[in-house]
């Protein structure tokens, strides 16, 4: 991974982690499973979708909406990177 990509990934992960932490009121490690930990309700899951779309100017449609893509800050970061790269 080039330096640029690492920086991008880090800043994306930070933005997402900040949103999640603010919403749940606690620090959330990047690899923490948000569904298993019961942190994510259906409402919050949809808020995450809208947040990612708005914050990173991506569209998350169809198969990309599957649960695994939103399981952790790490997974969401990978999704955003992939969608950004696809443009």
């Amino acid at each position: 991974m080039s330096q640029d990509l690492t920086t991008t990934a880090e800043s994306i992960a930070q933005t997402i982690a900040a949103f999640v932490s603010k919403r749940v009121g606690a620090d959330v490690p990047a690899d923490k499973d948000l569904f298993e930990s019961g942190l994510v309700s259906s409402l919050f899951a949809m808020e995450l979708v809208v947040h990612l779309e708005q914050a990173f100017s991506v569209q998350i449609l169809g198969d990309d909406l599957k649960r695994d893509n939103f399981r952790s800050v790490q997974a969401m970061t990978a999704l955003v990177l992939r969608l950004n790269g696809a443009e």
């Binding site: 949103f19 603010k22 919403r23 749940v24 009121g25 309700s41 259906s42 409402l43 919050f44 899951a45 949809m46 808020e47 995450l48 979708v49 809208v50 947040h51 779309e53 708005q54 449609l61 169809g62 198969d63 909406l65 599957k66 649960r67 695994d68």
Partner: protein
């Protein structure tokens, strides 16, 4: 085609005229009325222009929804279904699916969305309808109840179990194995075409499957987000119609030597109606701003708007019946319809109690500010 809000309002007034009372009695909106609005893209006005729609903002479409709701809640209810079908396709579908379906919904076809089942009402997690892959197709099996607008629909977006999660599937009502049976004499929105729908081994192409793999409740929450804000704006319309009827009556009807409006207990009803209309309007405007700015708050704001507006509409309609007295005590009178229609709004798109549960969960999970 550019469509101004004023033109849209004028068209609705031309189409509805004084017919809403007849449609309520007959339990039917004439096909021509629905097709005219559908052809102009007005039943799902937020579909983007790139997909053949009008590309209206949530705020503008909200005002339009309230206007239709002030004239005829059955017609507004059909609009809610069409808009929710379009939103679900837009939200869950791929760009190929957008191209396949959205221009049809924005260009004359009618659509509904099916969630509830005989044993899965408020508890949609008890849903048993299945969508199963079968070779190069999928097979839909199950039964849905109280599907608004299904009687009129060319397409029904059906939510069901799919693999370990859920999906929605777009089903032509003409497909083999689809049986649509009208709900006889519903108590409110009587002309909204509520129907029970059975799907007996309905074979559909894979392109009909929207999403797939996400948890059932995420999918339901996503689809309902549009339904909720649309119902909320519809309730604003109910409140406006009730306020207009009540203040007109209170100004003109005289008892005990003066207009009703000068009797303090009647005046309180008018004040409460105005307050309710303003509260509901502000909640809806806020929710629409969240939609139009792409804010994650749109999800909660829509539940809040639905909850507040439906409760206000039910209270406001009851107050209006009280003010109009015997004048409103006729089947089909605008205020009597509002009274029945508003109560139904407290039951659908998440009952008042379900919305309260969602909001209480949200309150618990919110961080301090």
């Amino acid at each position: 085609m550019p469509e101004s809000l004023a033109d849209a309002h004028e068209l609705v007034d031309d189409l509805v005229g004084d017919q809403a009372i007849e449609w309520d009695r007959a339990g039917l909106i004439p096909d021509g009325v629905l097709r005219t609005l559908a052809n102009r893209g007005l039943l799902c006005a937020e579909v983007p222009e790139a997909s053949g729609g009008l590309g209206m903002s949530s705020a503008a479409n909200g005002e339009f929804t309230a206007f239709v709701g002030s004239r005829c809640s059955s017609l507004r209810s059909v609009m809610t279904s069409q808009g929710m079908a379009a939103w679900t396709i837009q939200r869950l579908g791929s760009s190929r699916q957008h191209a396949a379906y959205l221009p049809r919904l924005a260009g004359g076809q009618l659509a509904a969305v099916a969630f509830s089942e005989p044993d899965a009402g408020s508890d949609l997690s008890a849903m048993t309808t299945t969508i199963e892959p079968d070779g190069d197709a999928v097979v839909l099996r199950g039964q849905k109840v109280w599907t608004t607008a299904a009687h009129y629909a060319d397409l029904i977006v059906v939510v069901g179990r799919y693999g370990s999660g859920a999906a929605a599937v777009v089903v032509p009502t003409s497909a083999s194995g689809v049986t649509v049976t009208r709900v006889p004499r519903p108590s409110g929105c009587r002309a909204a075409g509520h129907a029970d729908v059975r799907f007996d081994d309905v074979r559909l192409p894979v392109i009909a499957v929207l999403g797939g793999g996400q948890p059932l409740m995420l999918l339901v929450t996503t689809a309902l987000a549009y339904g909720r804000i649309s119902v909320a704006w519809g309730c604003v319309g109910i409140l406006r119609a009730c306020l207009d009827a009540a203040r007109h009556h209170a100004r003109t009807r005289r008892q005990f030597g003066r207009p009703l409006a000068q009797h303090q207990l009647v005046g309180r009803h008018l004040a409460n109606l105005l307050t309710g209309e303003q509260i509901a309007t502000r909640m809806c405007e806020h929710a629409s701003r969240c939609w139009d700015s792409g804010s994650p708050d749109m999800v909660v704001a829509s539940v809040l708007a639905k909850q507040v507006s439906a409760v206000q509409a039910a209270q406001g309609a009851a107050a209006a019946v009280q003010v109009l007295g015997s004048v409103a005590a006729h089947e089909g009178h605008a205020v009597e319809r509002a009274y029945r229609d508003a109560k139904l709004m407290e039951l659908i798109e998440g009952s008042t109690e379900i919305c309260q549960l969602i909001l209480s969960d949200h309150a618990v999970s919110m961080t301090a500010r």
